[in-house]
């Protein structure tokens, strides 16, 4: 009798376990059911969440580099226009009114360049380094001031790699100096107290453009063609170099993103194999267990009823 009871209980227990698995869709719901599977599933889940974080980091990096890329494109176009004017101004002697008009355009382009240099992404200046609380470039008369710094923003994009996402203002527009007295990093684009020229970063883009403007205004053809045109070319070239560097970085990020996409699929697949039930199999098993349970009930009913008493009159 007790055996009958226990067998029925066991069958019911097995059904319950299957039911639990079917309704939750998971093979294991507590560590003691299968310690190995649970640890594996935990490790995979954690790897998945780490990858998700990397993907989020890559996406943020890409949106930053995208914004930078667009701005660099605009800067490139603007500098091309400046170069054209330099070539135009150097080609022949213009009458003073025409020179003044070109000079005024250069000045306008300078203001536009200033805007581009202060471009923001999500409220953060693109070229300010870590000094993100204020617009990095300001102009007062013919004096330009840079209040950013050389801070490099690093995003972790894989377990082994961080990537620099920002382009320094100094790499685009000029040298960074440390003020001897205050120790604060400043960049000046006027002609006082500048350090020796570094190729491409030059004396400061803004300062160069001021020189261009003044040379055009003064009709100084010689200086324009001999000195300033090569300098402007260097500047244009430098922006192109920065763009190609950025492009390479973008490519790397995108490749990483794709890799993580594939990896995520793999990990999900693995985790599903560890965690999830095989629905068809589980249902069949449930059905089987159900009939076993019913059979045990039926036989129990037959085993329990007859006693000798029924046959004694």
């Amino acid at each position: 009798m007790e055996t009958v009871q226990r067998n029925m209980h066991l069958n019911l227990q097995r059904m319950n376990r299957l039911h639990e698995q079917l309704s939750s869709g998971r093979k294991v719901s507590r560590p003691s059911e299968d310690a190995v599977a649970v640890t594996r599933s935990m490790a995979l889940t954690s790897a998945l969440s780490r990858n998700e974080q990397f993907v989020r980091n890559i996406d943020d990096s890409l949106s930053w580099t995208g914004a930078t890329e667009a701005t660099l494109g605009n800067i490139s176009a603007l500098l091309q226009r400046v170069r054209e004017q330099v070539v135009h101004g150097a080609s022949q002697a213009h009458p003073p009114t025409a020179r003044e008009a070109i000079a005024a355009e250069i000045d306008q382009l300078l203001n536009h360049l200033l805007e581009l240099a202060n471009m923001e992404h999500n409220g953060r200046p693109l070229f300010a380094g870590f000094g993100t609380s204020v617009p990095p470039y300001t102009r007062t008369g013919d004096t330009f001031t840079y209040r950013g710094d050389n801070g490099t923003m690093l995003h972790e994009v894989s377990a082994f790699a961080t990537v620099e996402v920002n382009v320094h203002g100094s790499a685009l527009f000029g040298n960074v100096h440390r003020d001897a007295v205050t120790g604060i990093r400043v960049v000046r684009f006027d002609s006082t107290g500048l350090e020796p020229d570094v190729v491409g970063r030059g004396i400061g883009v803004f300062h160069r453009l001021l020189e261009v403007r003044d040379a055009i205004r003064g009709g100084d053809v010689n200086v324009l063609s001999r000195t300033l045109l090569p300098e402007v070319d260097k500047i244009v070239n430098n922006v192109l170099i920065q763009r190609s560097l950025l492009g390479a970085r973008t490519n790397r990020l995108e490749a990483g993103r794709q890799r993580f996409g594939m990896e995520e699929l793999n990990i999900r697949e693995l985790r599903s194999r560890v965690e999830d039930i095989d629905l068809a199999r589980q249902l069949t098993e449930f059905k089987m267990q159900e009939s076993i349970y019913q059979a045990s009930l039926a036989t129990a009913a037959r085993v329990i009823t007859p006693t000798l008493l029924q046959f004694l009159s």
Partner: protein
Amino acid sequence: MSAFFGLHVARRAMMAQQRAMEVTGHNVANANTPGFSRQQAQMAPSAPFPYPAANAPAGSPGQLGSGVDVTSIRRVRDSFLDHQFRGATQTLGYWEARRDVLSQLEMVFLEPSENGLSRLLSEFWGAWHELNKNPESMPVRIPLREKARDLTDTVRLMYNNIEDLRQGVALDINTKVAEVNSLSRQLVDLNQQIVRVSALGQQPNDLLDQRDLLLDRLSRRLNIALAHKPNGTVEVHAGNRVLVQESQAFTLRAEVGTVSAGITWEKNGQPAGIRDGDLQALLDAYSTLLPAYQNGLNELVRTLTERVNIVHRGGFGLNNVTGINFFAPIVPGEVPETVFFRLSSEVLADVNNIAAASAANWPGDGSVALTIARLRAGRTMQGNTVTFENYYQNLLARLGTEGEEAGRLVNLQGQLVRSLEIRREEAAGVSLDEEMLNLVQFQHAYQAAARFASVVDEMLDVLINRTFR
């Protein structure tokens, strides 16, 4: 030889069959009584006539049987099976109690699930990544603080839940020790009654059954050894000493301290030396099993606090303040560490105190946040050999393996106990069918004896009433 000798034989037979039927009735009545063992009326031919003697009538054909007697009422019981059963029950009791504790512990850790600690840890590191990307943003700092607070609260809660579990175990220990003491007092009572009945030359079957039942229950609690004495009493040894002897019961006392629990003899305060049964499992759970997991959490909390704080102190907040702890620092003496695991008061007061920058006036610098986020992959625990996540996973793996082991042994030992139970039931249990057959048999024997009496009666009727008229 009397002419009424036949009536005597019939009377004896009827009485014996009736007694046997009464025993059968008793068996049927107790068919569902726990611990009851089937009884049998032992019949034997009564003393024959005549007794062998020198003056016996010569030429007699031999001794003449005088009928039947019930000599004793025997209890059908296999004491070897009892012994085996109790041994197996002790071990089963141990693993069952251990499995129960472990499965409750699993409920504390809630893994694998969306709400376990491993997810909170992941989110905590993720929040630092977000801070690295937007160090000057309030909407990023506040979630980081909340995630971290969630982490500290949850770890504290888990620790407290384990402690609650431990206190529950302590309560259980006290209850079970009280039960053992009560069982041993009852055993003393039964011993005394059994001695009294045995002294009158009778079989105290039902008292013996009760005593066996108590011994079964006792064997689930702790390891016992029995010695049956000639006077009918049983001597029970538990742990390293005598628990019940003749009319004396030695009480046990539960000593539950803050660190560990033990069981001692009330009389001399010496440890009782218990090795098996569910009491031992509970003692283990209280003294070693649960504290091991609490220490696991402590270790995690200590390393996490130290590692994060060291980096955080070197950074600068949005308000250019440096040297701030992120978690409340570990104070020697404030143990267990987990109970004091919370964010530092500075971070709680102002999220601008969260240090993301490596220098003052660099609001856009998130490098310190990045260094903290990268602690996730760093081998920081157990002498710099495993990461936080691995450490926690190992803890859970250990819990799972221990739970699996306990579950497996409960199944195994349970099967053994059940099969012994079945064998015992087969030997000592009441089978209604068998009893019914016996009943029919005794009934027929009774009827036949009555028939014999009426035949003798008819014979005497002829002799007394119809002869010599």
